[in-house]
Symmetry: C2
Subunit: 298 residues, 2 copies
């Protein structure tokens, strides 16, 4: 097990993603290094009011703690209360164009240690896509790239992680998925450190190929106030999911994480409207009818 | 104990508040009656894009359940699992003008019953003010009216409920109060049903006198894009509080409440911006420096 190698890979991933996005956007990300009183810190890289990205955050963090939080040891009672370190890359991109979907990607690594005991580690992560106006070919491309990321790790892997994603990114209070899904995994420690690290790395490396072609294809489509308004309305669902259901966001906010880095996932402009429903047959209704349903996109 | 009398008083309060707001706003609230599969229902009254109110919701609900939720019996283990009924009026007003504060008011009544046992009841509620640009005289007026609402129920009552409000409406992840507070109470059953019902009724009846003069005083002040922008930014804090910390909102969303009625508290337009701070000495900085601090406003 080699946490330093994971850290180096995660930092390299953050850098690669930011560099690629800066090339596409034409603007430079702001860089904010921060430290945490309890141990560790991170670097938040943010772009607001860019050429393509209205708001984008690409976080790296590496924190240590004296006691593993209950939320992290729930499925592993034998390591409750151990010291731990956690590191990860987490990003959310909110493009300005309503034709470009919002996207989220995360890879993370935990190690729990205790004197005289073997360390326990696991990886988690995934990526998922949240369109405002859906395009079949974009969804198929995203999901196929997710499948490719997992292909070297067993044929059933993608099926499981795709379903896990559909289950996780679900707004239970709306009975509605957050978007069209992707892949999600957690508690990964098999077959061994090298194998699970390779899988997490592969997920990270497939993010740009999964998303950039979609951004390039849709960024120049003309749109108007109607589409921006629908985007702002639908972004409300993103806020609701992240603040009500997302375990990572809630754990961060409730445990003294760096608020501005965590909430860089919030969309830039959001609207709520009472009991609104799109007109049947409209482009907006298509999102609900054809995209916000668990489907086999591959 | 007379739940029917509470229900009648709550419905009359909803009606009185809506009628007064319609007179001020010049627009009519939409009326939405709804039923709940598990028992009970409610009426949501909503105004969007009004003359003064950009978004306003005044809810009445009365629901029954077979088992008291854990969150409601936590401080009363002896009634865990009892059947219950809950009723309340809850309102949030988001005026369009950044010079008019957002306001929240709630009164609620619970009864828990079990065969062969005396029913257990309690009241809760309160009101609190969330300015974007603060005015001392508004805060003083609001808090004095809260004090007047509680004055017949003992001199120490206002001190306690004012502090409870400061503690409750606090964004722990920001170390920041939601606004300038007001009053908050829960678990009220003393001295008896009549006494606690009278207190809850008094809080409800003091809502219009507490808030309407502020709305009238500020509604015509001219403002521009800068003030609207700051309002949208600060409204993000309202969203964060309600979705991350507010027990009523979370309980409702997680237990199958009517989502659109619960989330009528969300502001109409909201913005998030990374690590933003107002310029020292600006009108926006004054909000943080002079108003977002627990103070003795009376």
């Amino acid at each position: 097990m080699d946490p330093a190698a994971v850290k180096a890979a995660f930092i390299a991933l953050q850098d690669r993603v930011v560099t690629a996005l800066e090339r596409i956007d034409g603007h430079t990300f702001q860089r904010d290094a921060w430290q945490r009183a309890e141990g560790g810190g991170g670097e938040t890289r943010v772009l607001e009011e860019g050429g393509v990205l209205e708001r984008a955050g690409v976080n790296f963090s590496h924190v240590q703690g004296a006691r593993l939080p209950a939320s992290a040891s729930a499925s592993r009672p034998h390591i409750a209360g151990r010291a731990f370190e956690a590191m990860g890359v987490s990003l959310v991109l909110h493009p300005r164009s309503p034709y470009c979907p919002t996207v989220h990607m995360n890879v993370r690594f935990f190690v729990a240690t205790a004197a005289g005991e073997a360390p326990v580690f696991w990886f988690g992560g995934g990526m998922d896509l949240t369109p405002y106006y859906g395009f079949e070919e974009d969804c198929v491309h995203f999901h196929r790239t997710c499948r490719d990321a997992l292909a070297p790790f067993g044929a059933e892997r993608h099926v499981r992680y795709k379903q896990w994603c559909d289950e996780y990114f679900h707004l239970r209070h709306r009975g509605e998925p957050r978007g069209v899904g992707g892949i999600f995994f957690d508690d990964l420690d098999e077959p061994d450190f090298d194998g699970s690290f390779a899988l997490a790395r592969s997920v990270g490396e497939h993010f740009l190929p999964a998303y950039v072609p979609i951004l390039e294809r849709r960024r120049s489509l003309p749109y108007g106030e109607r589409e921006r308004d629908f985007q702002a309305y639908r972004r409300g669902r993103y806020v609701e999911f992240n603040l009500v259901w997302d375990r990572g966001t809630l754990f961060g906010l409730q445990s003294g994480g760096r608020t501005e880095s965590i909430l860089v996932s919030m969309p830039p402009t959001v609207r709520w409207r009472y009991d609104w429903h799109p007109e049947p047959g409209s482009a907006e209704a298509r999102l609900y009818d054809e995209f916000l349903r668990p489907r086999d996109w591959v």
